[in-house]
């Protein structure tokens, strides 16, 4: 969908020298994926992004957007077919929110009523009430609200491709996380092809299907976030990702990825002896007790019931905490550490017991990538 071939940009400095802002960058973003261009400032990521919609003219190389060579398209027409979001948001203060959103549809000559209806739909999509916000001016919105409008403005004419230049960079961390989640939820439905500039490694890991790391105008590595974190190609990338990069992988994995089956369970009326046997057979130290419909209610620890008799109900302890199967491992591990546990029961949205995770299973999963790679020594 977006394809760059040996794309280069040479800037001339005032004193006659030249700067290679982008050096033979080649990469391809498949349809429906988010590619984050990542790197320290001055690495050429923004230059590369702005060459895609022609805001910065390229020196050499080829750019294909939606299968068309951009050299063959009028830049104004090209830009109308690509959504563009910038860090400063760039809502026009002289126009209402409605008119701001309708800019590209109006440029494309959409029927006015159709464009206005679209604006209302889009506001709904980001949980802003159209009846309140359509007629407001940008200065009457909070920063987070403005940024949401900035994003839906880029989506107004339903372009297949979006370019986003640090779109969430100017928002406070709490709102940023909320808007990122909102955006990802929209993306699962919209399946846009997105090039996204960021200098925030955590944002990149969260948002990206693919990450392109830049340094001094060169594309250093182009990989999925997990592969990038597991196998950084060189020392620069490894240090850019941070010494805790293995921990960062936790947020890429879901609880369900490492969850062990919840088939082994007992109910309140079961005999303790049965529970003990099940634990011994499975080699577990704990067993979860479920309610009549399968909700996680408590657990038994093997050492506590070695000599016990009676029903499970008489001996069980409450679960200190559980974790949702859809949560990421970062959340799960953090919760385990907080409650000083080596395992945790996993439940679905309704509280039904699905299985459990152990610290061992998590570290095994993270370590698995390194056991079959020779670059393990890199730190």
């Amino acid at each position: 969908m977006i394809k760059l071939e040996k794309l280069s940009k040479i800037f001339e400095t005032p004193n006659g020298g030249t700067v290679m802002a982008a050096d033979k960058v080649s990469l391809e973003v498949p349809k429906g994926e988010i590619c984050v261009l990542l790197g320290p400032s001055g690495c050429g990521k923004t230059t590369t992004l702005k060459m895609i919609n022609g805001l910065i003219p390229k020196t050499s190389g080829k750019i294909h957007v939606a299968g068309r060579d951009t050299d063959t398209i009028d830049p104004v027409e090209l830009r109308r077919s690509i959504g563009y979001v910038i860090q400063q948001i760039g809502l026009f203060p002289n126009m209402t929110i409605e008119d701001n959103i309708c800019i590209v549809p109006d440029l494309l000559g959409w029927e006015r009523s159709k464009a206005r209806k679209r604006a209302a739909e889009l506001l709904d999509l980001v949980n802003l009430d159209p009846s309140i916000f359509l007629k407001r001016f940008p200065k009457e919105l909070s920063g987070g609200q403005q940024q949401r409008v900035g994003v839906i403005r880029a989506l107004a004419a339903d372009p297949p491709v979006l370019l986003m230049d640090e779109p969430f960079g100017a928002i406070d961390p709490i709102n940023r996380a909320v808007i990122q989640d909102e955006f990802l939820r929209m993306q699962t439905e919209l399946r846009k092809t997105i090039a996204f500039v960021s200098h925030d490694i955590d944002e990149a890991i969260k948002m990206a299907d693919k990450i392109a790391i830049f340094r001094d105008g060169k594309l250093e590595q182009f990989d999925s976030p997990d592969d990038l974190l597991a196998r950084p190609a060189n020392d620069f990338i490894a240090s850019f990702l941070g010494s805790d990069r293995t921990l960062k992988r936790l947020s890429l994995l879901k609880v369900s990825d490492v969850m062990l089956s919840g088939r082994i369970r007992v109910s309140a009326q079961d005999d303790v002896a049965t529970a003990r046997d099940m634990m011994k057979e499975a080699g577990h130290k704990n067993i979860v007790m479920v309610g009549p419909r399968g909700r996680a209610r408590g657990y038994l620890h093997l050492n506590d019931v070695v000599e016990a008799s009676g029903t499970v109900e008489e001996h069980y302890q409450a679960l200190p905490t559980t974790v949702n199967v859809d949560a990421d491992l970062r959340t799960a591990v953090s919760r385990m550490f907080r409650h000083d546990m080596t395992w945790m029961a996993c439940v679905d949205d309704d509280g039904f017991f699905k299985g459990f995770i152990t610290q061992r299973a998590i570290s095994h999963q993270l370590g698995a990538t390194y056991r079959d790679t020779p670059t393990e020594g890199l730190t």
């Binding site: 919609n53 805001l55 104004v76 027409e77 090209l78 830009r79 109308r80 077919s81 563009y84 910038i86 860090q87 400063q88 948001i89 760039g90 809502l91 026009f92 203060p93 002289n94 126009m95 209402t96 800019i103 590209v104 440029l107 001016f137 940008p138 200065k139 403005r153 880029a154 370019l163």
Partner: protein, 251 residues
């Protein structure tokens, strides 16, 4: 000269309003009161006042109208990227121009156009032009670069960006310049009499020369009223013509 004039705020419109009320009260006293000091002035000079006020208004309207017609496009032109290399130099030349006293400009315009109405218009036009050009230029240059980038990135053409993004966002500063310029114009217009341009200056300067206080006031009061009225009209224009989203006067 200050880079741009953004003085007016809400309290200032209140002041303008108060000044207008005061002006109306004065005017009422002037025209209605059949007796007393002002009544006598009116009885003596009413014909002159009406005739000369018309001349005065024509002088101001034509000269400031022409100044706006020329100044706004000139400011827009200077603010374009391809003019960037020359615009500061040109504006410096303009700035030096503003340091020349208006009386000197009027005198100089005699050498070009002789005496009468035309050189008066020309002199007033020059004096009015500079603040307008300066503020239009500055207002457009102060439009944040990211707005222009967003506009360009969405596929707006340069002309469309100028019309829908740059001008509306610069309008407040531009209007402030026009308001200042018109104030300068109205204040300078009485000098037009000195080069044969007519207007209420005739009563003022003749009044001074003859040491005739009544004649002097017959010129001064209408000039004062007119300047307040002109500023009030522009303040109203500033309030209503500038879009709400970029108008600091409107909530």
């Amino acid at each position: 000269m200050s880079r741009s004039i953004r003085g007016a705020d809400v309290s200032e419109t209140m002041k303008t309003r108060a000044a207008l009320v005061l002006g109306i009260a004065l005017g009422a006293a002037l025209t209605v009161a059949a007796q007393g000091y002002f009544g006598e002035i009116w009885r003596t000079y009413s014909e002159d006042i009406i005739y000369l006020t018309k001349q005065h208004v024509v002088l101001v309207l034509i000269s400031s109208g022409l100044a706006i017609l020329v100044g706004v496009p000139a400011g827009i032109l200077l603010s374009r990227d391809f003019m960037r290399r020359y615009s500061e130099t040109l504006l410096q030349v303009f700035n030096i121009g503003t340091t020349i006293p208006t009386l000197a400009i009027l005198a100089l315009s005699i050498t070009l156009l002789g005496i009468g109405f035309k050189p008066a218009i020309f002199g007033l036009w020059v004096a009015t032009l500079l603040p307008i050009v300066r503020n239009v230029f500055q207002g457009l240059r102060d439009v944040p670069a990211h707005l222009k980038e967003a506009a360009q990135g969405m596929g707006m053409t340069p002309l469309h960006i100028l019309r829908s993004v740059e001008l509306p966002n610069a309008l407040y500063v531009m209007f402030a310049g026009i308001r200042t310029a018109v104030a300068v114009n109205v204040g300078t217009a009485p000098l037009a009499f000195l080069i044969g341009g007519g207007g209420l200056g005739e009563l003022i300067f003749t009044g001074i020369d003859l040491n005739d206080m009544q004649m002097l006031l017959a010129g001064v009061i209408p000039v004062g009223l007119f300047s307040m009225l002109a500023d009030y009209a522009l303040a109203k224009g500033q309030f209503w013509l500038i879009p709400r989203g970029v108008n600091p006067l409107r909530p």
